[in-house]
Symmetry: C2
Subunit: 317 residues, 2 copies
């Protein structure tokens, strides 16, 4: 229990250590997380997502500075692409966010997109919980990319900002549609570029077409130039306006139910699998099944049904 207690007492090194243990899949980390859990639920969680090249890291840097000016403690979970050579995150904690390196009101953790036992969104959830228990007022989750994984991850946030750049090709347009519904705020970054106004107008038009637009919260499209710190205060104000809306409207309750349900089901899936996989792996059955599959002597559907029948004594098909 030592780590969890040290974290609750404000020990930053203990927090970093637990996050490593989570990464490494240590069983002991689960016991620590159990102790921390009742102390979570206080942080405001912001998701930042968008396609590569949108300038999200710089934007996160500026948002962090803005919250620091408001005397808030800020945790950052950056989901980095994984290096194929080291297996670690490419960008890494150290080279990111140098301006906040000396600030003990900012805690940064990079998570690589690979090597997590269990889903990446669950690992992210565990790390967010540690930051929450540490007393971070705001936790920012930043993802690079626009796939389903990233969408799952930012769904853990209370408020999500989707970042775009001016001048988008057809593929990006398609993806943009795919993430329209997860954005509570839309940001056209690099707003000094020629196409910025057009992109902002197009985005606003797409949001208008959304059949959900009569919902109480209508997402806005803001323009920023993160590298010159332009539009950041307006963005943070809009994020805070969404936070107020969640609480005043009562929408926060449904959001928390969805969030918790997703994370619980993911954990259940992972632990169930670990239980059964350990069993078939040990008794040599696994090798036999794989050989049968490769030789097309056995189909995977029947193999899985046989395992379920053995474990549960009969399968509802």
């Amino acid at each position: 229990m030592a780590l969890a207690e040290r974290i609750l007492a404000g020990d930053v090194r203990a927090a970093a250590r637990l996050m490593r243990d989570i990464d490494d899949g240590f069983k002991s980390a689960v016991e620590e997380l159990k102790v921390l859990y009742p102390h979570t639920g206080n942080a405001f969680i912001i998701g930042i997502t968008g396609p590569p090249g949108a300038g999200k890291s710089t934007l996160v840097d500026q948002i962090t500075a803005a919250y620091r000016r408001r005397s808030k403690r800020v945790g950052i979970v950056a989901i980095d692409p994984t290096s194929p050579f080291t297996g670690g995150a490419i960008l890494g904690d150290r080279i990111r966010m140098n301006r906040h390196a000396e600030d003990d009101g900012v805690f940064i953790r990079s998570l690589a997109t690979r090597g997590h036992l269990g889903g990446l969104s669950r690992s992210t959830g565990d790390v967010v919980n540690v930051m929450d228990a540490m007393g971070m007022d705001v936790v920012i989750i930043e993802t690079v990319g626009v796939g389903q994984d990233e969408i799952d991850i930012v769904r853990m946030a209370h408020t999500t900002a989707v970042v775009m750049v001016p001048g988008l090709g057809d593929d990006i347009q398609a993806i943009k549609a795919g993430i329209l519904e997860i954005g509570d705020v839309f940001v056209v970054n690099k707003a000094d570029r020629d196409d910025a106004d057009r992109t902002a107008r197009e985005l606003a038009a797409m949001l208008e077409m959304n059949p959900d637009k009569d919902r109480e919260w209508q997402p806005k499209v803001l323009k920023t130039e993160a590298s010159r710190n332009r539009g950041i205060e307006e963005l943070v104000n809009e994020i805070e306006a969404h936070r107020s809306y969640l609480h005043h409207s009562g929408a926060i309750r449904r959001l928390l139910e969805e969030k918790n349900t997703r994370l619980f089901l993911e954990l259940l899936k992972e632990r169930l699998f670990a239980e059964v996989y350990g069993h078939i792996h040990v008794n040599g059955k696994f090798r036999e099944i794989v050989d049968g599959l490769v030789n097309r002597k056995q189909d995977p559907y029947s193999a899985v049904e046989a395992i379920l029948a053995e474990k549960f004594g009969g399968v509802k098909n």
Copy 2:
């Protein structure tokens, strides 16, 4: 059994119907897939991946035409971003690949990135198996995006081509590193652009740094202009060279073991979860757990352990 038998007899409409049933998660689809499974394993599976805007669809179109000139039947599984409004694939089967619409040697299926019961990579695997059983000589899996999902999907291929465009930002560079190891062939498309040579050189240099470079197959970097059909024959020849390598070196055996293992484990995970989830959902326990989580009265780790203990009579922790 009717559908599977009709598919094996060459009935294209039966194949389309089974793919819809797979999408909709019909239980009957599993029975059909069991019948088809012994008839699979003959198709050569090509994965095409890369960032948005790289021109992958046009490239797939040209590769398809090249294989048709070689009298091969071609199946295409296109993983499309999902529309938030319709829930369906945005690009759709109809507007894609018009030039092959009249050709009964080409079968195209779009899969939306959402709404699949079970993982998208497993649904993709099922659809590939149907095309394989239909007698398609080549099946091309095309993904839009570069996240972990896409990587999991293209890992089902025998040979994977990673498509890049000239002139990449930092984020893309990072992602490029993340997918270096999955490419058997690298393609710089839109090679008429200024930066094409530099991008190709940089890619080749990154591949040189790869510690795996002493492996028997050294991936090449090719340049194409898909929209003008330039470099396509060379690309198809390189893809075929990789196919020959797999068979002559015996590497195909390990590849098939990995592929089958992944798909089997994913299926196992999904069915196990369905089994247990159905149970806790019905008896009202689920609602109780979610309420406990939202109120922070119960932590998710202990809740999962309680369910496992009940199901399996004690959990190895």
